[in-house]
């Protein structure tokens, strides 16, 4: 077991993790962050995406011990139902959500793009979410939502 200290969604967090524990399981089980999903377990679907130091990573292939001293964000960081982040609002308004299983990961990849690039091209948006599979939407309304939210996202970073 290892003790780790990190920043989780803007707040200091600590916990004990097994040597072989994956970040996905730490966050789902110890921090009840069920928005992270295990769609494949081998880094080929994107549903387990988290931001580490604001860059998207697959938590299913990240040993929890790696995040000691780092900043970790999940979709809960963006906003909650009472106070939505503009990106979340744009996802709703553009119809970017269907079954919802890819949505948290997709939002995080999009957020990571928008805090670095306030005016991305469609190609840049497509590339930024190319590590998050979606089987329902065909991505088009997701791309539209990200385009619409661009410029509004620097408010919380």
């Amino acid at each position: 077991m290892k003790a780790i200290h990190f920043t989780l969604n803007g707040k200091k967090a600590s916990c004990e993790v097994q040597d072989k524990e994956l970040l996905l399981h730490t966050l789902r089980e110890q921090f009840s962050l069920k928005s992270l999903k295990e769609g494949c377990g081998i880094g080929e679907c994107g549903t387990c995406t988290v931001l580490i130091d604001d860059e998207p990573h697959y938590s299913c292939l990240t040993l929890a011990s790696k995040i000691n001293g780092h900043d970790v964000k999940t979709v809960e960081y963006l906003g909650d139902a009472e106070l939505l982040h503009p990106l979340q609002k744009a996802f709703i308004d553009s119809g970017a959500v269907q079954c919802g299983y890819c949505t948290p990961g997709m939002l995080l990849s999009a957020y990571s793009l928008l805090i670095k690039n306030g005016d991305p091209s469609d190609d840049e948006i497509k590339e930024a979410i190319s590590g998050n599979l979606c089987r329902c939407t065909g991505y088009i309304q997701i791309i539209e939502a990200i385009r619409n939210a661009a410029g509004l996202c620097k408010c919380k970073s």
Partner: protein, 278 residues
């Protein structure tokens, strides 16, 4: 599901080498994008040395036309480093093709080399830049050319207790460089075939041509015969056509005739031809 193992997180290279020396049945982990998948699929080891926090291994430095890339520099970092785009464009393009944005944020150049997949995107560009690897252990340091380092598909000369520390390449000023690949989808796909090139030419002649081909033979390789053939040759269609045939010949010499060549041979020929034409 991962098998049981113990892990350590050294913060200096010395610490990492000491762990590798003292721990039995140890594997080095960096990004984890290959090793953890293999372990979920049945591979096991007693100890894991996680080198991602080792600062010395994360450095990317340019000095006197020499580029030294620490083994845990990620694909994302390589593809976004502006100076690399100038000095080793094929590498920066190739690293931009690796996996997905997440994989590129996690996966490292060292991991790509140690995994030694025939389809590894970073290897052909490093081959044309005559990459030299710096390999360290508690007992010292050795250097080895990348061409010698990979000894078989998924097999390298790296010995237990050794650590790949960095990769050194030379910039090729004045060369036109590139990397192209064929893959079954637009992103997040394994290369079915890849070609890296760096070509220097004057007026109508090839001066120096460097080619490397990936995902075709058991290991990515440089077709030296054709490089030799093209030296100083006039740049025209008959020469290029002949060059393409020489490449095909070299591939057959290495691999014989494989069923996949029905596809791959015409693609290699077309891509090499395009690269030579520029």
């Amino acid at each position: 599901m991962l098998p049981d193992f113990a892990s350590v997180n050294p913060e200096t290279k010395r610490e990492a080498l000491a762990f590798l020396d003292s721990l039995d049945d140890a594997r080095v982990i960096a990004g984890g994008t290959d090793l953890l998948v293999d372990m979920k699929r049945g591979e096991s080891c007693g100890n894991v040395v996680d080198i991602m926090n080792v600062k010395e291994l994360k450095r990317l430095s340019v000095n006197d036309g020499k580029i030294i890339i620490g083994s845990t520099v990620t694909h994302a970092a390589i593809s976004k480093t502006v100076i690399l785009n100038d000095m080793a464009q094929s590498l920066s393009v190739a690293c931009g093709w690796v996996g997905s944005p997440q994989i590129r944020n996690m996966g490292t150049i060292g991991g790509n080399l140690v995994n030694a997949s025939p389809a590894a995107d970073s290897i052909p560009p490093l081959l044309i830049h005559d990459a030299i690897l710096s390999i360290e252990s508690k007992d010292g340091m050795r250097e080895e050319a990348l061409e010698d380092f990979i000894i078989a598909p998924y097999e390298t000369s790296l010995r237990p207790r050794e650590l790949l520390a960095s990769v050194c390449i030379k910039g090729l000023p004045g060369y036109r460089e590139g990397y192209r690949r064929a893959a079954k989808r637009a992103a997040w796909a394994i290369s079915r075939l890849s070609v890296a090139w760096a070509i220097s030419e004057d007026d109508d002649h090839f001066v120096d041509v460097r080619l490397a081909i990936g995902s075709c033979t058991p290991m990515p390789f440089r077709p030296r015969d054709v490089e030799e053939f093209l030296k100083g040759r006039e740049k025209n269609d008959p020469v290029i056509r002949e060059a393409v045939e020489i490449v095909a010949e070299e591939i057959r010499r290495i691999s014989g005739d494989r069923p996949s060549f029905v596809y791959k041979m015409p693609v290699v020929k077309d891509l090499v031809q395009k690269a030579l034409r520029g």
